[in-house]
Amino acid sequence: MKRILILSLALLLLLAACSKGGNTAGDVTGDMPVDGNKDNSQDVQEGQNPDNNQENQEVNEEKGYEFVFDGVTIAMHSKMELILEKLGEPMEYFEAESCALPGMEKIYSYSGFEILTYEKEGVDHVLSVVILDDSVSTKEGVYLYSNLNSLIEIYGDDYTKELNTYKYESGQSQLVFLVEDEEVTSIEYLANMEK
């Protein structure tokens, strides 16, 4: 009898211990699992000209790669609301409910680039920035149609190559270049969702 009771207790303890790092069904059925992401809501800066500021040319390793447009710095995981205040209304806006799970996928289109967001606890954060044409560039100076040599010159050779993509990682972000015929044909900033 005692053995059965001990067995029962052991089983209950096992259940209690089998927690997946504190995850609950909320993670399974609800929020997007962005554990450990730093809230970058203070990271939207205005009025800084990255070209004139050597410090800004260096990638902030914690925030990772940032996109700068019209003096507004956009870091991955930043709160979209603050970015909207600085950038103003987008030229086009698209939103779609996530399939079955809570949250909206939103796309804000500006001249030359678009910002995609994810929703966490009811607040929109930057998921990715996609450069659409050569009227804008990365903060470090790579444009669409830049050649591969200048890309490597600027970002170095610490990249992961998969098919024709060159992926650079820093802090909470990834910067992904698609290269075709030695030419950059797509540039995308991505929030690193695993960190």
């Binding site: 009898m1 059965i4 009771l5 067995l7 029962s8 089983l11 259940l15 209690a16 089998c18 927690s19 997946k20 504190g22 995850n23 609950t24 069904a25 909320g26 993670d27 399974v28 059925t29 609800g30 086009e92 806006y93 698209f94 939103e95 779609a96 409910e97 399939c99 079955a100 799970l101 809570p102 796309i107 996609v130 998969e162 098919l163 024709n164 993509t165 698609l178 044909t185 797509s186 995308e188």
Partner: protein, 357 residues
């Protein structure tokens, strides 16, 4: 004395198992008033009659076609074994499992899932797998679907995954402990609300447009399985305008269908013929059709299925008619209820749908 002690031991063990079973029932999400898509897969097991057509695939099947319209218009019986972001290996094993229960004349697979060559997210795995009855097919589906940090045992005994939900339990968990309300109409998720298409996002450049080997492996198996069971397999791309369906993907599906002598229909090319008006026939700006859109697609597609595969009108079968009369009644009562909700609240409160600004 000895017998008494053995009896006590057996009773204690039974008590322990019943407690664990009860806890498991209590802790697993019920998917009745929120994320109702989690209920779709298990509703198949309540079916009493067979089906001429079985649909498999992601949300582009369970939100875009009305089996009730297929019945009302053509006397075709059908069921949608669809799930949110259902991956192709999940579709394959669901089909394998379905064939243990019945042998439909036609199986329709929605090809959007070809774009995923790897498991994507535990939450979607759960919505597709938790509702399956324990079987070899379920185990194989779990093994094919698991993310790196997931365990088979947590799917077989969901209590191990959900035990820490105790602090999140709501009245729904107790109300639907043993019996859940029916959510779908033969796997179809009804929505009567309208959210017109305002803009259509462009497709982003991809590093490769080639579908993955794993996707093709399961598609090949699906073709083989249908052939072995004398079932006609149809490939379809539903008329959902987002996520973007690339021309390069379409070409691959056309070539595949030609090579294997299958019918492939891309309904994106047939929006006008089907009669879909994205100002009124979608509830989420073009991702999924609403009820009026799903009925239009069923009318158009049903006619093709009926003519191509010689599906008989079964409305004359009295026994079958009795079963489907009940389904039709439930369908229209839900439609009425949703319309009432829309009028009263401006959104579908009963589905846990958030009010749009």
């Amino acid at each position: 004395m000895n017998k008494k002690r053995i009896g006590l031991k057996i009773a204690t063990i039974c008590f322990l198992f019943i407690t664990l079973w009860f806890l498991q029932k209590l802790m697993v999400p019920k998917y009745v008033t929120a994320i109702v898509e989690g209920s779709l897969i298990e509703e198949y097991y309540h079916e009493e009659t067979d089906h001429d057509v079985v649909f498999i695939g992601d949300c582009e099947v369970y939100e875009n076609i009305s089996p009730i319209t297929l019945w009302e218009k053509y006397g075709i019986t059908s069921f949608i074994r669809g799930g949110a972001q259902q991956l192709i290996w999940q579709s394959y094993y669901l089909l394998e499992e379905t064939l243990k229960y019945e042998k439909p004349k036609v199986v329709v697979f929605n090809v959007l899932a070809m774009k995923y060559d790897e498991p994507q997210k535990e939450a979607y795995n759960r919505l597709n797998l938790d509702g399956m009855k324990l079987s070899m097919e379920k185990i194989k589906a779990i093994k094919a679907s698991m993310m790196d940090d997931e365990n088979l045992i947590e799917y077989i005994f969901p209590l191990l995954r959900y035990h820490s939900r105790w602090s999140e339990l709501t009245s729904e968990d107790f109300k639907y402990l043993f019996k859940k309300d029916k959510i779908s109409h033969n796997g179809y998720y009804m929505r009567v609300d309208v959210e017109p298409v305002k803009s259509i996002p462009k497709g982003r450049k991809l590093s490769s447009y080639q579908f993955g080997e794993r996707s093709y492996y399961y598609l090949d198996r699906m073709v083989e399985l249908c052939k072995d069971n004398d079932i006609d397999l149809v490939l379809m791309k539903a008329p959902s305008i987002y996520p973007y369906w690339y021309d390069e993907w379409d070409e691959q599906m056309r070539e595949y269908a030609n090579k294997h002598d299958l019918m492939y229909i891309n309904f994106l090319d047939l929006i006008d013929e089907v009669g879909i008006d994205f100002n009124v026939d979608t509830y989420d700006a073009g991702l999924h059709l609403n009820l009026s859109g799903a009925e239009k697609l069923a009318v158009y597609f049903g006619d093709i299925l009926r003519k191509t595969y010689g599906l008989e009108d079964r409305r004359g079968d009295e026994e079958l008619k009795k079963v489907w009369d009940e389904k039709v009644e439930f369908y229209y009562s839900m439609k009425e209820q949703q319309l009432r909700e829309l009028e009263e609240y401006g959104y579908l409160k009963s589905l846990g749908v958030e009010k749009r600004e």
